[in-house]
């Protein structure tokens, strides 16, 4: 059974690209539950469906079939703009390539989601500065990406992702472009943020990074292969119902 405390629930999600002879089924019926407050690492070889799943979970893409409940709402029934508003309100994104706006200061980058939310100038500034402070870059607010190191850029990107105080932080290979020392720092930051209550969904192919997660989901051939729970050593059980494995139902 799935409790309503579940933040995310996928049931029989498929995703098919193309048609006819070139048809390709990226997801073949994924069932997944993610509880609020979890720290999930998504792993699997390329082509296993993990990126497609992340796109669907990030409301950037819709399933070809199946249901996707987010906070009890059917995301697969929402249109493009409704999904955009859902992203604006509940989701934050961190990318492997940082994806900050060039020639734009750290502060302005972090302010961007607040602009779309319609906050006034004063609120934008204060909220964005607070987010930069959280990632330890308050003193770097007036630097453009070109003037920041990779690790710092990723911190700015994380500040931008959390500035709206979202429910879920989706990170796609957040340490993929960083050296191991910087990677650990980023993972510590994500762990810290997760401790503050935000649900973290992270795609990674490095086991050392996945080790920071509480739950690890392995993908293979468009299906969930297995889920490891209580992955992190000395981890306290979640207050809510933990994520659980739902074997593929054909």
């Amino acid at each position: 059974m799935v409790s309503s405390a579940d933040l995310i629930q996928l049931r029989g999600v498929t995703k098919t690209y193309g048609d006819g002879a070139t048809q390709f089924q990226a997801l073949k019926g994924v069932d997944l539950d993610i509880a609020a407050g979890d720290f999930v690492a998504v792993m699997g070889p390329s082509g296993s469906g993990k990126s497609t799943t992340m796109n669907i979970l990030g409301c950037l893409d819709v399933p070809s079939d199946g249901t996707f409940l987010f906070r009890g709402h059917h995301v697969e029934r929402l249109d493009r703009d409704q999904r955009a508003l859902l992203r604006r309100r509940y989701l934050g994104f961190v990318f492997q390539g940082f994806n900050l706006l060039a020639r734009t200061t750290a502060l302005e980058n972090v302010e961007l989601p607040l602009l779309y939310r319609g906050d006034d100038k004063r609120t934008r500034r204060d909220t964005a500065m607070a987010a930069l402070d959280k990632v330890g870059l308050a003193n770097w607010w007036d630097h453009t990406p070109a003037e920041l190191s990779g690790g710092q850029q990723q911190r700015v990107a994380i500040a931008r992702a959390i500035v709206t105080n979202p429910d879920v932080l989706l990170a796609d290979e957040p340490t993929g472009n960083l050296d191991s020392e910087r990677s650990v720092e980023i993972m510590q930051l994500l762990t810290e943020l997760n401790g503050g209550g935000i649900t973290v969904l992270m795609v990674t192919h490095e086991p050392e990074m996945a080790a920071f997660a509480r739950t690890v989901i392995h993908f293979k051939d468009g299906l969930v292969e297995r889920v490891e729970q209580g992955h992190r050593q000395g981890d306290m059980p979640l207050p809510d119902q933990p994520s659980s494995l739902h074997p593929v139902t054909e």
Binding site: G58, A84, L86, R87, R103, L112, G118
Partner: protein, 402 residues
């Protein structure tokens, strides 16, 4: 929400100054060209009309021969004589005054200065037909006119060059073979439409000029003032009939004189300059459209170049209409900015060209407003396509775009 997109658009413009400048360049040139051409065209038309009206309104110019520059073979048609002047004045209805004119050129000498100028012989009727206010002094009296005395009224150019701008009335100077008393000076009229200086003239009683300069009693030009209650064409027809009779022209013969209505010349020239203005403006308008295409071009390139940025914005939660609005606002802001700069450039160019061409500086509010409005419209029209393309991007593909 619109405030947000405004902020985003202006940030983006300011962040890419060179790109923004290059984008607007076409609009700057287009708007500048249109405004310059229309304004200069109007200034030229106004100047031409002013020059023509300086010749006097309601005036018919009667000359021997068959119109301007039509020489042809055969004997030169006879000039007019004083009895023609009398006949027209007394026998044609609607004629207020007739001033005969004959002219010559001579060098005027006063103390150390000498100046080559035009001598115009006429009667006092000329001041009625073609009013020209005096700057000082008087015109000649009837008695002086009848006697053909060597008295003259001089134009401001002659006054300036001969008397160094000093007092001329009451002075006597030599001109050609005679000495002449200055009785009056004329106000400045300025450059004529066809390059001549109207103020470079010495006006004398016609008898004096005929006797001392041309050596005959011929009249080369009659200026006929008409009553404005009569139609110019009707008066012209009456004069034609009268002159044909006086010059013994049979039914099948062509006129050996011609009559020009200044109003007709004015209308012809005005319509010509207006037509030229329209043609040049059309060419300039094309450059404005090219400028618009330039904006579309850069905006399209910019959409491709900024695909990833658009992806980020979409992922962060921008809805399609916000991305569309941002790009549209950017395009409109750029083209309006270009329009504004174009207007400024146009004023500078108009100022320079007006000074160079001796035209008055003109500011035509309507064309400035229209050009500016068109530049904004161009932003909307040519910005819409790239903006729609940006808004339609799939966030996943956009984010993956290298």
């Amino acid at each position: 929400m619109f405030g947000t997109t405004l902020i985003l658009a202006f940030r983006s413009i300011l962040r890419h100054k060179l790109r923004s400048f290059l984008t607007t360049l076409g609009i700057i040139i287009g708007v500048g060209a249109v405004v310059t051409m229309v304004t200069l065209g109007r200034a030229t038309t106004a100047q031409v009309q002013k020059n023509i009206s300086a010749l006097g309104t309601n005036i018919l110019q009667v000359r021997p021969g068959q119109g301007f520059g039509r020489g042809g073979g055969g004997p030169r048609p006879p000039d007019f004589d004083p009895s023609d002047v009398e006949a027209i004045r007394n026998q044609v209805a609607g004629v207020t005054a007739v001033a005969p004119q004959t002219s010559s050129t001579a060098t005027a000498i006063y103390e150390g200065a000498n100046w080559s100028t035009t001598i115009q012989g006429t009667t006092a009727a000329v001041w009625t037909v073609q009013p020209w206010p005096l700057a000082s002094g008087r015109t000649w009296t009837d008695a002086e006119e009848q006697a053909g005395k060597a008295v003259c009224v001089i134009g401001s150019t002659v006054q300036k060059n001969l008397f160094q701008g000093g007092r001329a009335v009451g002075q006597r100077f030599r001109i050609g073979p005679i000495s002449c008393d200055v009785v009056g000076t004329l106000t400045t009229r300025g450059q004529a439409g066809f390059g001549g200086d109207q103020d470079d003239v010495v006006v004398m009683p016609i008898k004096a000029v005929q006797r001392r300069f041309t050596g005959n009693r011929d009249i080369r030009l009659m200026l006929v003032g008409t009553d404005e209650r009569y139609s110019g064409a009707a008066v012209q027809a009456s004069i034609t009939d009268l002159l044909r009779e006086r010059r013994h022209l049979g039914a099948g013969k062509e006129d050996n004189f011609n009559i020009f209505d200044t109003k007709q010349i004015s209308d012809t020239l005005s319509s010509t300059t207006t037509l030229l203005t329209r043609i040049v403006t059309a060419v300039a308008a094309i450059s404005l459209v090219v400028g618009g295409i330039g904006i579309m071009n850069i905006m399209l390139v910019s959409v491709t170049e900024r695909t990833r940025e658009i992806g980020i914005r979409l992922a962060i939660g921008a809805v399609a209409s916000e991305v569309l609005t941002q790009f549209l606002v950017e395009a409109v802001a750029l083209s309006m900015l270009g329009g504004l700069v174009g207007l400024l450039v146009a004023q500078v160019v108009i100022g320079a060209l007006s000074a160079l061409g001796g035209l008055p500086f003109l500011f035509v509010p309507s064309i400035n407003l229209i050009a500016f409005a068109v530049s904004a419209l161009i932003g909307v029209v040519f910005g819409y396509f790239p903006a729609r393309r940006a808004a339609a991007l799939n966030p996943i593909d956009a984010l993956r775009h290298e």
